[in-house]
Symmetry: C4
Subunit: 236 residues, 4 copies
């Protein structure tokens, strides 16, 4: 595919994925953004900053290089771009990143807690707890806030030795969720699932205050029903 | 009716019943599945695995025999098929099974608690507590997970001596709800009711921490207003 | 107006009011019913029992006399008719009754608690607590359940000396809400408000465990802004 | 622009902003009202009292002077007009005021608690806690209730030394939220955000009972990303 066509296809996918967020009830006003990277072509495509979902068009999507430098004249990219860039640099198999303020995931991020794997709905998508980062320091926030947000996510996954494709999402302390995936479609689905399991988890704890996470063998079973070489869910 | 027509009618009902799940807000993404059995004709019709509700067509429904062996070339059946098969073998009056991850029912399943009959909304459909199975063992999960899921449901109803038509649904520990009925329509309705009473029950316990279930005589009254030879609800 | 036209107008209003319940999210499946009485004409019009809102037509509405005896051949009336009849006999200014299983009101009914007046949203419509009846006895349920449901509502208002137009709704213990009004439109609106304040009240208690109801002078102010000879809300 | 055109443009904006409230799920029945002021032209335009959103038309909007005296024959203004007038007199940079009974904000108002800044969703719009007024006294309610509601809001902001554009909303004790902004669009958006953060805050406290508000440096960062001369969110 020629470079121009490739960019256009990326813009279409990123546009569609961004619109999927308010449709799924994950985003109000102009909150939330989706990007896609193509490392070989050296480009990232991301939602423009603060533009209404109702009036946004495909060509409003912003094209940058792999460091987040804008390559075309036009709208400004999402203010969270630096976080996306950082994640693409660290998570090599990730081709799309999604950020929302979806309310149930935000509630856990604000509570500063990782989400325990309380059931198979969780295990189908997230292979273990969805981690919550530490609080950013005053210096990190002051210096390069969005970049440091990316760094603290990567730090969280490295320290806890979590594979970002096995747990394709995170809560940023006091802020909200980021999810990702090999495609924009998958990254958006992961945001949908994350919000759903966040809601399920908080009420699960109300209904049974002493509940434990599901056992490892059930977590294994459900995750590997859908992922890896022995997966047997779906049509492939 | 000829066999071919009968299959087509089953496919239509199963297709319609599957679409009713996202319409009722019980299902996100491709979660959830409905099947119907015809024991005389020796067939089960079930949703295909992991297919989008938006693009799914009537003829995508999968036809199997009563052991779950696929009878027609085409899509793979729902990965939960073995659970449906097991339920049809044990519950002879049940002609349709529904599985969802509807969020309120999942919350109780994750909490590992049966749902007490706190009111007449519950009693109109479920004659007593909606039971929660025990946790599956590591061996059961490893050997034949979906079949064992069916078995633990049946075990729960046998041990607690519950009539599956009097309590047409169950929570699988750490997983989510299954409901059933004499028709696909009824089985889907039971999923709707189960999610509703699950939500009502968790807040009932918040509003009054010491509340008791309704007395047996009120449970009897409401259930038998709608079920059995003395029913007087509805038009028949 | 001739009797026949009057009946037709009543049917239209009752039909419209019944459809307003699922539109407002207060009713699932076939739960819920609205009726209207015309005491001079000696008739009650009510929803038929167990009929789907999607297929229901104006002429499916059932006409009875003031004792609930069906006057026209056709569908069976709502199984809750006897409750409506009883309320019309006792509450002379009430011309329409609504019953739903709207989830937030049911949660309080199941919890067996009256809803305190925690704010002006409550006070605008309900002049004081929304009472909850006592539990019906085994004998009452066995003998004439729906009629006794009406009686226990009336008993509640008499014992607590509540004017049914000042507090146009009630929770039946373990069951759910009934509301009423001078018109079908008002009775339906009261069901909408009752469910809303029920939801607000349960979370209010979570956000502040020691909160008190609003003072009497604020209750007076808001209720009488909208009701009585000194009302100044709205266009009349 | 001529005076007549100016009024017509104001009516259009106020009409549109009022309709945005039920669309955003913030308003049921006829609750809620939006107004806009033009101090130079000496006019306020506000929703009429108790008129249905479904039948309301642009020319139903009511025009008053800066003291709330109606300038054109027609419908009666919102009964909350005096509160709006009072806020316009005190908050000189505010050109639009919104009042709703949106349920999550009402829950906090009924609980009598200010909303802590638990996350960046809050900080993006509200620079610190959203305050809750004191309870109005019996005398204040009896004398000039709606005017006193305005006064107690202003008192709250003066005593706590809060800039009304930095925290563009408030909870009135036992009643509900008012928000405002430099435009009707902004004032409505602030109502949307206020309800969302109210919901997030109550569950945040459930998920972590000992959670603290976000640190001041994060509050600063998020608020000033979107506000003031160093803002870099959006396209300007």
């Amino acid at each position: 595919m020629k470079h121009k066509e490739l960019i256009h296809e990326m813009k279409k996918r990123v546009f569609t994925a961004n619109l999927a967020l308010p449709e799924a009830g994950l985003v109000k006003l102009t909150w939330g953004n989706v990007s896609e990277v193509n490392r070989e072509a050296g480009v990232i495509v991301i939602k423009p900053s603060g533009v209404s979902y109702k009036t946004m068009e495909i060509n409003d999507m912003v094209v940058t290089d792999l460091d987040g430098e804008v390559l075309e004249p036009g709208l400004k990219p999402s203010s969270d771009l630096a976080t996306h860039v950082e994640l693409y640099k660290a998570f090599e198999e990730v081709n799309s990143v999604v950020h929302t303020h979806s309310k149930n995931a935000v509630m856990w991020a604000q509570a500063g807690r990782e989400i325990p794997a309380y059931g198979t709905t969780h295990a189908d998508t997230f292979y273990g707890v969805v981690p919550c980062t530490r609080q950013l320091t005053s210096e990190e926030v002051a210096s390069a806030y969005e970049l440091e947000t990316g760094k603290v996510i990567i730090e969280t996954f490295r320290e806890k030795e979590i594979d970002p494709l096995a747990v394709p999402g995170v809560l940023v302390y006091g802020h909200g969720p980021f999810t990702w995936g090999e495609t924009t479609k998958k990254a958006v689905e992961n945001s949908i699932v994350l919000d759903e399991i966040a809601e399920m988890a908080s009420t699960t704890e109300i209904v049974n205050e002493t509940i434990s996470p599901i056992p490892q063998y059930l977590l294994d079973k459900h995750f590997f029903r859908k992922h890896g070489s022995n997966a047997y869910y779906g049509q492939v």
